[in-house]
């Protein structure tokens, strides 16, 4: 398949691995920021193929994982109303709130629907004028344009039965939070390819310069990821710290200006709470005042729901790359994708779920995390 097979080519991958092996002289810790990248790394067994001196740690870039518990509880309260059709991306359905997940809310009679595009909600709202159609608008900058477009179009059309429950988060503040942490081990980043396809990478140039850290904007296929690793390792070995763009087929320095325009016309930046991490200033979006009539939190009066997350698992540390999924005593025991305890097990893009799905806890002869960590840090 065009645009896929060439990026999964075994010969190209082997060639890049050889170049990485000859470029790497010192041990380095790299973080891939996106959940989609983590997913590919374990799906294709990329980290097992890398030389032992390169450790990949998994970043916070899974929007499903970092959606805070209280927002999921709000979603459940809204979805349970008989006058509501609650629409969501598929993988939010299995994310547990404090009592259950949306699939269970559905089994109790709620009208919960999976949509592939937020704009499908417009169609549903037109077809069911007697119902309130609520979309769970989550995600990083990648999903923001389509989510913004839903609100913008609903306002244009005067569709009063549409609203959105917003939990949008932004990547750059999360990277800064990681770099600011006294426990940070990350020496270079594989930057978020699809986020940058929308936003461009000027923000990352500022971070790279301030923290003197290499950031390579990287794609999601095996050859992309290996090339991203090679570019980051070369920077580190040569003592450079700059933003480089591996994902040139999708990312331009200024991103997608039309998409950015719709995002900034509907959303404004605000503080957001991240599941497993806590509040980060200026790290998310909320609706602008002129669109607040479409805010589901206002429309359904769920503002009082304020669920606190009990400290049990290590997902916050996994999200920041400080520890690995199987460093957690609950991993694959009490905590599985069927009964996730923490943020990073809830979505297939979460590091814990990716490790579980691709059998990192089962794999015969797998190198232990402790062994790798000892070599690098």
């Amino acid at each position: 398949m065009k645009y896929l097979d060439e990026y999964r080519d075994a010969g190209l991958a082997q060639g890049l691995l050889e170049q990485i092996r000859s470029a790497q002289k010192h041990p380095w810790v790299l973080m891939e920021v996106c959940g989609g990248q983590t997913h590919s790394i374990v799906k294709f067994g990329i980290d097992d193929l890398l030389p032992s001196g390169i450790e990949l740690v998994h970043g916070p870039g899974c929007p499903v994982c970092v959606t805070p518990l209280e927002l999921i509880d709000k979603a459940h309260a809204i979805a349970s109303r008989t006058d509501v059709i609650f629409c969501s991306f598929g993988d939010m359905l299995r994310v547990p709130g404090s009592e259950c997940d949306l699939l269970t809310v559905k089994s109790r009679g709620a009208d919960v629907r999976v949509v592939y595009s937020p704009l499908e909600c417009l169609k549903i709202a037109r077809k069911h004028p007697d119902k309130q159609v609520v979309f769970f608008a989550i995600g990083f900058e990648t999903t923001a344009p389509a989510n913004a477009m839903l609100v913008w179009r609903a306002k244009q059309e005067g569709l009063e039965n549409v609203s959105v429950l917003v939990s949008h988060v932004l990547v750059p503040p999360a990277i800064e939070a990681i770099l600011d942490s006294p426990w940070n081990r990350v020496q270079g980043f594989l930057g978020p390819g699809h986020v940058c396809a929308i936003m461009g990478f000027r923000e990352y140039e500022e971070i790279s310069a301030r923290f003197k850290v290499p950031i390579v904007i990287t794609g999601f296929e095996p050859v992309d990821l290996l090339e991203g690793v090679l570019m980051a390792v070369r920077q580190l070995e040569e003592g450079r710290a700059e933003v480089e763009n591996q994902y040139v087929r999708a990312v331009m320095r200024d991103g997608n200006t039309a998409a950015r325009r719709i995002v900034s016309s509907v959303f404004e930046v605000c503080e957001r709470k991240w599941r497993g991490v806590g509040p980060i200033p200026q790290s998310g979006y909320r609706l602008r005042t002129e669109f607040e009539a479409f805010d589901a939190e206002r429309r359904f009066d769920v503002g009082a729901i304020d669920t606190q997350e009990p400290a049990v698992c290590i997902s916050g540390e996994v999200l920041r790359g400080i520890r690995k999924p199987h460093d957690c005593p609950a991993f694959a025991k009490e905590c599985t994708p069927a009964h996730p305890l923490g943020a990073t097990m809830v979505s297939s893009e979460g590091a814990c779920a990716a490790y579980y799905l691709y059998g990192r806890h089962l794999k015969p002869g797998n190198r232990s995390t402790e062994g790798k960590a000892a070599q690098t840090g």
Binding site: M1, L4, R8, D9, A10, A13, Q14, G36, H39, K43, F44, G45, D48, L49, F89, G90, D91, L93, P96, S98, L103, T104, K106, S107, R108, V114, Y116, G139, T143, P222, G276, V277, G278, Q308, E309, P310, A311, C313, I314, G316, E317, I322, C335, P337, A338, H339, L341, G342, A343, S347, S348, E349, Y356, Y358, G359, R360, L362, K363, P364, A373
Partner: protein, 355 residues
């Protein structure tokens, strides 16, 4: 790397409490994955346990007065009831024929029960039934008894069909999910994921370049041809719900063996692959309705594979891997770029990923 003390003073690390086991049935209980296994192991097996049921095959092989009979039942609840490549009626006949064929039996008789929803268009029922008649004639089975019920509007979904099948095992073969042995070859009869993606693209109104059609087909003549080539076929399964991944795990688990699969060898239609990539689904977990997985003795595998390829339903047949003694009950897949991963059983339904 921080020491343990540092971990304790880390902010964050917050997470929710564990969920109790499901108190309601969720859709995932019907997915063929771990939740389905849970239902079987916790509710059905303890209540009905006997030597036949404990085999956990898709059919029971019964000894009655010296005759070996294969007996099976299956329910069909697909939405939409008409889809590219087939309909619920054809699916009901072929699915039951296949469950019989997967132990090497010749399918003979079918019983069908219809649960109709009030308001179903009579023309639609006629279309479904005519399709069943044609599928039964093609498969050489007779529909000999049945039942009809009608439920209130909203209490069903147009039409549900339950088919029960009876077949005769006239060959001295023992084909069962617990018969795989180290060294055996794992054969797949063709492309995977066609049925599941045909349904999904219809259900969600998704439009992909190039049509995706269900692969629904009766596989008993393919099985007969394979058995003519060699009786050394140890396991046969049609990878329906849960896909090839679930089937391989069931066989590995029942036979207490490991498996090593070459991910590059598994055929997937371009359109199915594209649709799966867009939705973030893995074709290995997507349902098939006209494919089989066979575990075959190594010395017989070439002959069986040749016969499969000369059969109209096995043109794309290939060897996808081998049964091994190492890592029992684990299925390892070699990836396109030479890495490896464990192919586990799905929890519930595959859900499209966000990005």
């Amino acid at each position: 790397m921080p020491d343990d003390k540092d971990h304790r003073v880390m902010p964050g690390g917050a997470c929710p409490v564990a969920l109790p086991d499901h108190k309601q049935i969720v859709l995932g209980h019907g997915s063929g994955g771990k939740l389905t296994q849970d239902l079987i192991e916790k509710i059905f097996l303890p209540n009905f346990r006997n030597d036949y049921l404990a085999q956990l095959n898709d059919q029971a092989v019964l000894d009655l007065n010296g005759s070996r009979l294969a007996f099976t039942t299956d329910s069909f609840v697909v939405t939409p009831i008409f889809f590219p490549g087939g309909d619920i009626g054809r699916l009901a006949i072929n699915g039951t024929v296949n469950d019989l064929a997967m132990c090497g039996a010749t399918p003979r008789f079918i019983a069908a029960a219809f649960i109709l929803e009030e308001g179903l268009a009579a023309d639609d029922l006629v279309r479904v039934v005519e399709s069943m008649r044609m599928a039964a004639a093609e498969a050489g089975v007779l529909l000999v008894t049945g039942d009809t019920k009608v439920v209130n509007r909203g209490k069903g979904d147009q039409v549900f069909i339950t088919t029960t099948g009876l077949g005769v095992l006239d060959r001295p073969v023992k084909i069962s999910a617990d018969e795989a042995r180290p060294g055996d070859r794992i054969l797949l009869s063709g492309t995977i994921g066609d049925h599941g993606m045909a349904i999904m693209s219809q259900r969600e109104g998704l439009e992909f370049e190039g049509p995706i059609e269900s692969d629904t087909a009766a596989l008993h003549t393919l099985v007969a041809a394979m058995l003519e080539a060699s009786p050394e076929i140890h396991c046969l399964r049609d990878p329906t719900r849960g896909g090839v991944a679930t089937t391989l795990n069931e066989i590995a688990s029942r036979s207490d063996v490991g498996m090593e699969i070459d991910g590059r060898s598994i055929p997937v239609h371009e359109s199915v692959r594209g649709a799966c990539e867009i939705l973030g689904l893995d074709p290995l977990y997507v349902a098939n309705e006209g494919k089989l997985v066979a575990v075959v003795a190594p010395e017989a595998s070439e002959a069986v594979l040749d016969r499969m390829r000369s059969h109209p339903l096995g043109g794309d047949a290939c060897c996808i891997g081998e049964v091994v003694a190492a890592h029992p009950r684990r299925v390892l897949v070699k990836t396109e770029i030479g890495g490896s991963r464990v192919l586990d059983v799905m929890m519930g339904e595959q859900l499209p990923r966000i990005c």
